[in-house]
Amino acid sequence: MRLTLDTYAGLHSPLHCWWPRSKLVGLGVLMLGFACVQQVQLIPVCLMVTAVLYGLSGLPWSFLRSRLRYPGLFLLGLVIALPLLSGSTILWQWGPFAIRQEGLLAMGLIAGRFLSIVTLGMLLLGTTPLLMLIDSLVSLGLPPLLAEMTLLSYRYLFDMADQLTNLRQAMRLRGFHPNGNRQSWQQLAAVAGTLLVRSYEQSERVYKAMRLRGYGHSQSVKSQIKGWGKSADLVAIGLCATISLALIGTQIWLTVPET
């Protein structure tokens, strides 16, 4: 399981220098604007804005490619299914297969929106260390208990993944080969159960250690991120909001029937 995300968070680019709290709000607003797009004519604008931002971030294209591998399967399914199944205007036909205009447009719309939003998400996460991102969320009102749970889960996620790798390796070394019979299911349930029991026992040790360090007596998680950064950070939020509002406005203008 590949659980690394902060690999490129240390680069130096306008996106990396953007104040995390402002970046979260700015890119969030932009994502909302992209999600509101219902007209395929607006998709090139979304893709262009995304490409410019990605170029500015200095993140390598291989990062985006690797992150799009799994969601790309969904995209592939969409590209194959929609033009063949949706709509009535046939553009091209070969035997029982027909490419339909409405399906093609719907495919372009969904795929474009999907690519833009996913890339913006990758930009947000690729240019901000996760801990700083959670800190920004706390500063924007995320409940402290949820923030503490997120931080602690993140801290032990890697340990759990390592433990599962060790358990799998140990099973393989002892000749385990999953073949779908009752015994192999029971063994897999035992692996999952062992991981849960170990994590429960570890959590008791972690809690004792946390208590020894004063956990529960002092105030809970407090954000270190205050304010909205410099004026350039605010300008960037304004720019994102303007693009988002312009998209929503154009969308409304395009959908209102001419009188």
Binding site: L5, R67, P71, G103, S153, Q163, P178, W185, L188
Partner: protein, 246 residues
């Protein structure tokens, strides 16, 4: 079972975030009612991380293999923490693996979180099962029901949401056929989820039965809530939390 970014209309995403926020608020309120919620937090967090990892185990079902959701078991073990753990798990899945998405986090948390809370309720109905059955069998049955019904509910919510997402020009007969096929294709998953949850519950009952009492209902140990007035003089190397904090 995860809806990706850009697939459903923005209105559905916003409503999803709203509903998910309400449920999160309710769960946080329930959790805060516990005499010492801080004591349960590390357990919930580590178990959330473990569940996240456990769902990556592939279950062989020839000729394919499946990933489990385990929402029913999550509810049985974590109680009201389950929804919070699912929210965090889905956030990590969107970040690390590209499953789901950030704009659809609210909707996806409803698809998996509501069945977890329902699974919590179903699992705790085991006390109503006939006394003639052994406790292990009772746990197995309630585990199966929590897993299977939870999964069935998740599939129902997922398909209902997909109906919103299908383009208007989609042929009605094809749409019905596609949704029916999707529902039937998830049938084996419902059974597998139920059976695997029952096996896991039986294993946990044998090895760590306190895990099945639910975090919220479990009484807090005295050392975690009460302040010790007299530090124990037996061993000067042993530090208690209160001695350090006073």
């Amino acid at each position: 079972m995860h809806i990706p970014d850009g697939f459903i209309p923005p209105q559905v995403c916003i409503v999803g975030y709203g509903l998910s926020g309400l449920i999160t608020w309710h769960c946080l309120r329930q959790v805060q009612r516990h005499p010492d919620p801080a004591a349960q937090m590390p357990k919930a967090s580590l178990l959330a991380a473990a569940f996240f990892v456990v769902t990556s185990i592939q279950i062989p079902l020839p000729p394919m293999s499946l990933h489990l959701v385990l929402s029913g078991l999550l509810g049985a073990v974590l109680g009201y923490y389950a929804f919070l753990a699912i929210l965090i798990g889905l956030f990590f899945q969107a970040l690390f693996l590209g499953h789901g998405g950030l704009s659809t986090l609210g909707v996806n948390s409803l698809i998996i979180g509501i069945p977890a809370l329902v699974g919590y309720g179903i699992f705790h109905l085991r006390r109503w099962l006939p006394r003639a059955l052994t406790p292990s069998v009772r746990d197995g049955i309630s585990g199966f029901l929590a897993g299977a019904i939870g999964m069935m509910l998740a599939v129902t919510i997922f398909i209902s949401l997909l109906i919103f997402a299908i383009p208007v020009g989609f042929d009605a007969a094809t749409e019905r056929m596609a949704l029916l096929t999707l529902g039937i294709a998830h049938g084996p998953l419902v059974l597998v989820e139920g059976i695997f949850t029952a096996l896991l519950v039986t294993f946990l009952r044998r090895t760590k039965p306190e895990l099945l009492t639910g975090l919220v209902s479990k009484p807090t140990p005295e050392w975690a809530t009460e302040r010790i007035s007299q530090p124990e003089p037996t061993n000067s190397g042993n530090y208690s939390a209160d001695r350090l904090c006073d």
